[in-house]
Point group: C2
């Protein structure tokens, strides 16, 4: 495989963003930032054997997810994803066809958001595939949906449903058997093809003030990040946590707490805003059929995350969620 | 090692760029682009065992170089580096102290250019360390020092001296013995701590027109990229190629051609501009004590790179230079 030929094959067929001045093919890409907007940038790396298993996911699924997790970070800033760069370290047991499919998984998602691939790097490695995606987005200059923006008495909310992704991972790792075929596929799909909540992030960005995180490391961990950054506390109710039908069914014979509290990679959004803004947010989301749920409130109790169990027992949650790094 | 603690330790002590709105610590970084400027972005990955050997380089040298190679790409666009993000996949045999030193190698260079670390990702991996750096720079909106900008009769120029880096690598790989201690250290240093030519790139950006590349894959390969993108040819003279004193000394008992033609990672700039602009460029570089040398000219001979040897023999050069990808 020749690097130059391979890069030619990856060349996107069209450019979505009129602001791309120089795309792939020179030393660096050039784009013209819009006036009155801030740029938002993030990077995430996925490693074979740590974040995905080659035999358990198709290359297309791996590519899709590598881009999706970055778009999710952009969504959590209330921003719109615009451009991305992909750097990939390739072991010899990955065929060119596998790599092209991996990029096609990214193109599928990039097309949906009209994002342009504007650069990257391909290098060889001895052992495991490593794919690093950088995403650049745009946000109105006044918007700041930061972790530090929570205030006492804020409503705590989450989008979508929580815990599906790690239940799906448990199925893939043969740690969980699910008889219902549709539920099984649903949970695996939630793990492999998470939907970044860009539209929800856009609505949240219109509020006067909101704190916001995407759920990559588990709900408990993300709530801890908000209370630590805001120097406040959060109390939330187990009974209010939005759970999918598939996870509800599993609840009869499994302890699903580990999935919805500590299971990472849901890539839903979790945040806080004032009671008045919550009413607006809920209405705007309902109008666009975006699921969003109130699960608790912000307290003055410094840096504590408290869960009110269904039996009304109250427990303090540790931060330790999904932490690849400790792996 | 805990990811959150580790990221705290990496937190830069100060922010250089007033345009950083949100740095490390949230889902993504936010910065305010300047008006009338374009943003320039590039990404490069370095893999242990492929781009560096852990026993042959200090972590500080590895970090320095990982950032330097990206700054070099920004320089080749005539841009000024402003922000960077670092994503790192860490095997268990890398101690936290090693990693901190690796980041310090980057900080040293970032301080020199007043660049801000605004984000990144740390993940674990099974085998080899992989470090991916994204750099974002700024360039005046009218500047485009692209590969495709060469014109017939242009002067072909290079900065600094060529071939040192791969001679230094040959020493590190015990393929080359150099008795002169100062020369040996010089060559190794050129390989481990390349100097990105940002100031030279800035001067070139003031010219009416220039094509420009940084020499990452070897002079022959970079010249081929220019002629392919510009659909022209280049003829250059072996006698004019700037060679360091150390490499000149080696010439007595070695064939140094492989180093200056095909040896990569010099991270000098190579480009073309009109004869009138060349005079201005040479004068401006002389004023700032920046070494820049005319080595040839652009011809109408489509996509050919021709070397006039010192014995006046003419040979056509293949593109194949330094290509990590081919392993």
């Amino acid at each position: 495989m020749d690097e130059f030929d391979f890069i030619d094959k990856l060349q996107p067929k069209r450019i979505f963003q009129p602001n791309v001045v120089v795309g792939i093919g020179d030393d660096a890409a050039v784009y013209k930032p819009s006036r009155h907007k801030n740029q938002v940038v993030c990077v995430d790396t996925m490693v074979e054997g740590v974040h995905f298993l080659k035999h358990a996911s198709t290359p297309e699924e791996i590519g899709y997810k590598a881009l999706a997790v970055n778009i999710s970070d952009i969504a959590a800033m209330g921003a719109i994803p615009r451009y991305y760069l992909v750097s990939i370290a390739i072991p010899s047991n990955w065929a060119e066809q596998d790599l092209l499919e991996l990029y096609h998984g990214m193109y599928e998602l990039a097309d949906e958001y009209e994002m342009d691939l504007i650069g990257g790097d391909t290098v060889s490695t001895a052992d495991k595939l490593v794919v690093t995606v950088t995403v650049i987005g745009e946000v109105e200059a006044h918007v700041q949906t930061l972790r530090s923006k929570a205030k006492e008495h804020d409503v705590v909310f989450v989008t979508g449903s929580i815990g599906d992704s790690s239940a799906g991972l448990a199925i893939l790792l043969s740690q969980l058997a699910v008889d219902n075929k549709a539920h099984k596929e649903y949970l695996i799909n939630r793990h492999k093809r998470p939907t970044p909540r860009v539209r929800a992030g856009q609505i949240i960005a219109t509020l006067d003030r909101a704190s916001l995180n995407d759920i990559s490391d588990g709900l408990a961990s993300e709530l801890h990040e908000i209370v630590e950054a805001s120097q406040l506390g959060i109390t939330f109710n187990e009974a209010d946590i939005p759970i999918s039908e598939a996870l509800s069914e599993l609840k009869k014979s499994n302890d699903i707490t580990k999935w919805f509290l500590y299971g990472g990679e849901d890539f839903e959004l979790v945040g806080t805003t004032s009671a008045e803004s919550w009413d607006k947010l809920k209405m705007a989301c309902d109008e666009q059929s975006i699921k969003i749920t109130k699960i608790g409130s912000v307290t003055s109790s410094h840096s504590s995350v408290q869960l009110v169990k269904e039996n009304l027992e109250m427990i303090f949650l540790e931060k330790s969620g999904y932490n690849h790094f400790k792996g």
